[in-house]
Amino acid sequence: MEAKPIPDRFLRLHPNVKALLRDVPVLAFDRFRDTFLSQVASGARVSAYFASPRGDGSARLLAVLSQPLSATLAVFAADVGGSYPALTPDCPKAHWFEREIAEQWGVIPLGHPWLKPVRFHASYAPNRDAWQRRPGDPIRPADWDFFRAQGEDVHEVAVGPVHAGVIEPGHFRFQCHGENVLHLEISLGYQHRGVERALIGGPDARSIHCAETLAGDTTIGHAIAYSMAMEALAGIRVPAKAQILRGIMLELERLANHTGDLGALAGDVGFLPTLSYCGRLRGDFLNMTAALCGSRFGRGMVRPGTVRFDADRQRIQRLTEHLDQTMHDVRAAVSLLWDTPSVMARFEHTGALHREAAAALGLVGVAARACGLEQDVRTDFPFGVYRFAHVPVSTWDTGDVFARAWVRWMEIQRSYEFIWDNLMALPDDPLPPLPPEAEMEPDSIVVSLTEGWRGEICHVVLTDPAGRFAHYKVVDPSFHNWFGLAVALRNQQISDFPLCNKSFNLSYCGHDL
């Protein structure tokens, strides 16, 4: 008789609900590995996978796998010494996470196929470095071996960190055969400013601003994730009106960025009308955000327990008019794209990614939905107002630049409807005053998930015995998706890189933290 397989062991956790750290099972590494792989095989996604240091110098691996079918998270841990057998060979979506674990804590995932730093900073663990660098050794970004193709006519193209446009720094290394890209390797870390480390010991006056600037174009998305974690830890209830206003702000952020992206995509194929109009219309959405909170990026709006700015009938009325007028113009500007054969010819079949590849790499957000993957935190793990107001998941299945543009356009329409409905549903009563500050639960863990305009945002917060931040882990959607861009570039013309890159429009600072 065959032995029964040992059932997986993990803490089943709901997003935005705290649990005691001691309830997270610490498994022997083999069990950790089996649980990780079997959960992923049954459809779980890797929302976070990181190491935190322990007093005795060892590191504790912590996995947060999200299970959309049950809308729960599987959380489990394992203690490891200086090395452990890597999961990446069996689970490609662990690739970037394990490189980060190695870089941050000097713990080596043995057998990792491409173990390089992701951000190029010194190890956080004293006297332990995954690459035996000594303290004080110079660390230069992108100063490492790159994957190389060899042969006659094969050449290498290096771009960045300083780019031709007004964009963030990053280094791109292409292996080309003629115009054809055989492989692209992306080396980041130029924007690394140490935000996760700055949060430790918090919350303090700086903390919310660190959250708001994790990725400046996703201020609302990250501020909501941060606030939900704080609210769970301190047991704060958020008034309904504040929840609705947060949802409206999050969708305005999506509208602004998606509209800007569609304009920029038009620009990358030389179609200037939509580029010009969408550049202006993006600004209109930003101005609506500023009409609510004073800042075009939503700075100062979301605070733990509340939002800082109320909206009365008159303000809502003005906002609704502005929204309708702008949406009317967006429709006219964007529909030009789909009606213009020269645009469609450049969008279709460019930078296509298969559904299987997208799932295996663990892509999130627009990039995943454009490959036909139905995943959206607003539906899978509804938070705040999304528990009551449903936003349909927009997907397309061709995985190319067109799909990523078309999904954005569908989402623009859904966000507009959502905002409209919720502006109408906004209670007239003013926001209640903020309850007095509450202590955060000590020795606890909370995972918050939101759907920013790029995709899933995950914050994992661990508190110490005094109820302060002992560890703060941020997973921006870009962390999942940069490798997807690299894979989408294979067998494309190098001249299509700007177009493919814009169709993903990933964040450098959100990745680099």
Partner: protein, 254 residues
């Protein structure tokens, strides 16, 4: 083609009439703060405790001041102040030429940016090309610099342009706190700009480190070895604040 023309007609003329007319800014916009620290009772430090970046402090004579170079314009200080000693106005004109001009005591009038001298105006007055360097930060400054090139602001009508190579540039627009990993790239880009050249520090990060001030992975803004010609405060500065700074530098706003 007909659709394209129809859309063009539909979208209309959208360029704002700045600087001829005042910009329309939302009532909640937080621009130049008006401080009345004489209202502060002894021992009250609520604003200083609430400030995320230490922008409000005491000078060497024990007088309270606010440093717009550090200020994130979040308004938290105004919220916690029980005496209305700090109010943010909607005045968007914030750019200055000297770092020290950003430190304001009660009663100080902001010494807004003066124009370049005659010789420099002869060189740059009608054509000024910038290379932008993003050196850390959160990409919001970059986003609102980019906006200036859209039809709403139409930077080109003032002879100002953002170019792709430092070799083609007359100066650098620097954003971000200058992370350790960007310090060398910033230096090299500066060296590649032919003299005479300008440096504009855009945003709290480039001026002081912004929300990252003091963190070990960054340099608290543009290093003192690089001479900054224009400081534009904000987190991020509103595009109209950036434009206003450029136009003052070029003597197009007095």
């Amino acid at each position: 083609m007909l659709n394209v023309l129809k859309a063009r007609w539909h979208q209309g003329y959208r360029t704002i009439p700045y600087p001829q007319a005042a910009p329309s800014l939302p009532d909640r916009f937080r621009g130049l703060p008006q401080v009345r620290f004489s209202l502060c009772p002894d021992g009250c430090h609520a604003c200083m405790a609430a400030c995320p970046t230490g922008a409000i402090d005491m000078d060497e004579h024990g007088k309270r001041r606010i440093d717009l170079g550090r200020c994130l314009f979040c308004g938290e200080c105004g919220v916690v102040c029980p005496h209305q000693a700090i109010m943010f106005t909607t005045d968007h004109r914030l750019a200055v030429r000297e770092r020290r001009d950003l430190c304001l005591h009660e009663g100080d009038v902001l010494n807004r940016a003066a124009a370049l001298d005659k010789k420099m105006l002869r060189v740059f007055g009608r054509s000024l090309k910038f290379r932008q360097v993003s050196a850390g930060g959160c990409n919001a400054c970059e986003a609102d610099i980019n906006v200036l090139t859209t039809i709403g602001f139409d930077l080109g009508r003032f002879g100002i342009q953002i170019v792709a190579s430092p070799r083609h540039a007359d100066g650098l627009l620097v954003s971000g706190p200058v992370t350790r990993n960007m310090a060398l790239a910033l230096q090299k880009t500066y060296a590649a700009v032919p003299a005479p050249r300008l440096i504009v520090a855009v945003g709290a990060c480039a001026i002081s480190g912004g929300p990252y001030v003091g963190l070990p992975e960054q340099n608290n803004g543009v290093p003192s070895a690089l001479p900054v010609d224009l400081y534009i405060p904000g987190c991020p500065p509103h595009p109209i604040t950036i434009l206003d700074g450029f136009l003052r530098l070029l003597n197009k706003i007095a």
